[in-house]
């Protein structure tokens, strides 16, 4: 059974003249327990796919399946128990006036768990935070620790699928390593399915085995991590991205700027 199946997904914003097609005919499949990366630059539509999956964008057509179940217009609570999301900016994804304890216990309560006290401690332990963090407010913890809290919140409902929206791009590199390790461990321990959105090819190659490259709302290339590491890309945009992310100076800046500047 596939974890996530997306077929001919179109997502747009606005109507009539103002209609903007954010995602065009996207199709991919993530096997259960797999990890899939969506790569692209800002405005390529990669985050929009996550938003469509979680029901935050109303206007879409095509087919989306989660664990073999087709998604309709509304998401019910059983969906949110299976699918959770970690947001990009840990400074924006935690309520500024709620303590860590309140964030986690409210989440557990919403999913109808009992034994909340024990579960909160367990969640904090799972993401590598000591009990001293439990009653802190977001402004009292660092960015990496906030992201751990956000991951703990996502894990609270014991989901099988995690959507990761650039989970480390707001963090320092040394903290990024910690969070990426944590995500790797969690996936192994819990057999989670990851769908990760990022612009950083090194990060995606570390976490994911399959990658889709998006440009201007379309998936231009699907490749696996070995192809990527060996720079075996067939689409010019993909090879351009790969070269830029290796930090190599491009041979002909001018020629390439044409294709990127057009958007």
């Amino acid at each position: 059974m596939s974890g996530i199946l997306i077929e001919n997904l179109n997502v747009w914003f606005g109507e009539g003249h103002e209609r903007v097609d954010a995602v065009k005919r996207a199709s991919f499949e993530v096997p259960e327990g797999g990890s899939f990366g969506l790569v692209g630059e800002s405005g390529s539509g990669k985050s929009t796919i996550l938003r469509a999956l979680t029901g935050m964008v109303p206007s879409w057509n095509g087919r989306m399946e989660i664990l073999g179940k087709e998604l309709g217009a509304k998401r019910d609570r059983s969906f949110y128990r299976k699918v959770q999301m970690v947001f990009q900016d840990p400074y924006a994804s935690l309520h500024p006036r709620h303590s860590v304890d309140r964030v986690l216990s409210e989440t557990l309560q919403l999913h109808g768990f009992g034994d909340i006290d024990r579960r909160v401690s367990k969640l904090l332990e799972d993401v590598g935070l000591g009990p001293e963090f439990r009653f802190r407010y977001p402004h009292q913890v660092s960015g990496g620790q906030r992201q751990r809290v956000a991951i703990a919140r996502a894990l609270a409902s014991e989901p099988s699928i995690l959507l990761l929206d650039e989970p480390t791009s707001a963090l320092d590199v040394s903290v990024q390593a910690e969070i990426l390790n944590l995500l790797t461990d969690l996936r192994r321990e819990r057999n989670l399915t990851y769908l990760m959105v990022t612009h950083d090819l090194a990060v995606v190659s570390h976490v994911c085995t399959e990658i889709a490259v998006m440009q201007l709302g379309e998936i231009v290339e699907l490749l696996n991590v070995d192809d990527m590491r060996n720079l075996r890309a067939s689409h010019p945009y993909t090879s351009h991205l790969l070269r830029s992310s290796l930090g190599r100076r491009s041979e002909s800046t001018e020629a390439e700027s044409v294709s990127t500047e057009a958007g």
Binding site: V175, Q176, A177, N181, D200, S205, S257, T260
Partner: protein, 285 residues
């Protein structure tokens, strides 16, 4: 060879509720006609250093130094009014996000010519010609059209190139670039950096490139200062970065995931509290 900038024993302090916070703790470095990278993580004091040199730290923040010499003249002790000439003609700064550095209701061309007119005694028509030349210099192909655009009409990469044009037009001797590309997409990053790099070299300027990205800095700089906890923990030639000896620098390098070198787990940097107490390494030439 005379240095463009000498900074000796620079301290920046901010009073907080729980005492004085020392953002920069007694660092010394100098800048010749070279490209100097300052690398560190958030809170290391790298950005504060850049702002302190331009005297942009506002009270209650406090800046103290034995000297900050721009071509032998101490800019720490000149009046604020004269400081305005230093900013622009002496030292310019490019910030992280062009969206916040450009005035949204003014045409970009007018903003650039205004920067020129402030420091040069010429006519408007001449400033316009000069601006167009500058736009060409930052590889903007259609300068006449871009001149008349508003900031919201240009892309991030183009915006940052416009910022570079604006900062370069008064002819500064030193350019401070504070994370100039972290708000940009990967594919335009290189291009913007290359333009900046080319201009700095052509004009024989000094560049201080502040970034958290070790690889980027090592590609685009001659010399690197690595900051941690408000101090310089190590300084090295950029092409020798991989031979760095300080555990913090090594830790930073190893914690990066790499496309060409897969690993099951990334190395996690363990911070030694002793690093904070070690004396700052001098970055003087």
């Amino acid at each position: 060879m005379s240095n463009l900038l000498d900074v000796e024993n620079l301290w920046v302090r901010f009073p907080t509720r729980s005492g004085i916070f020392e953002a920069v703790r007694g660092i010394s470095f100098s800048l010749a006609r070279e490209r100097l990278g300052i690398v560190g993580e958030s809170g290391s004091g790298k950005s504060v250093t850049g702002r302190a040199i331009l005297r942009l730290i506002r009270p209650p923040g406090m800046v103290a130094a034995d000297r900050i010499d721009l071509e032998g003249k101490d800019i720490l002790r000149i009046p604020e009014l004269k400081m305005r000439d230093v900013r622009g003609q002496g030292i310019s700064m490019i910030m992280q996000d062009p969206k916040f550095s450009l005035n949204p209701v003014m045409r970009v061309g007018d903003q650039i010519s205004e920067a020129y007119l402030l420091h040069a005694d010429t006519s408007k028509a001449q400033a316009r010609t000069k601006t167009i030349e500058m736009l060409v210099a930052v590889s903007i192909r259609d300068p006449e059209r871009v001149y008349n655009m508003y900031p919201h009409e240009v892309s991030g990469g183009m915006g940052q190139r416009i910022m570079i044009a604006m900062m370069m037009i008064p002819g500064p001797k030193i350019l401070i670039a504070d994370e100039p590309t972290s708000a940009l997409d990967v594919s335009v990053r290189m291009q913007v950096l290359e333009i900046m790099d080319r201009l700095v070299r052509e004009r024989g300027m000094g560049l201080i490139f502040i970034s958290h990205d070790l690889n980027l800095v090592s590609t685009f700089c001659d010399r690197v200062l690595i900051m941690y906890g408000g101090k310089i923990v190590e300084t090295c030639k950029a092409d020798r970065l991989h031979e760095a000896r300080h555990p913090y620098t090594k830790g930073l390098l190893n914690s990066l995931p790499r496309l060409d070198a897969p690993r099951d787990r990334l190395d996690v940097l363990t911070r030694d509290p002793a690093w904070r107490d070690q004396p700052s390494v001098s970055g003087m030439l």
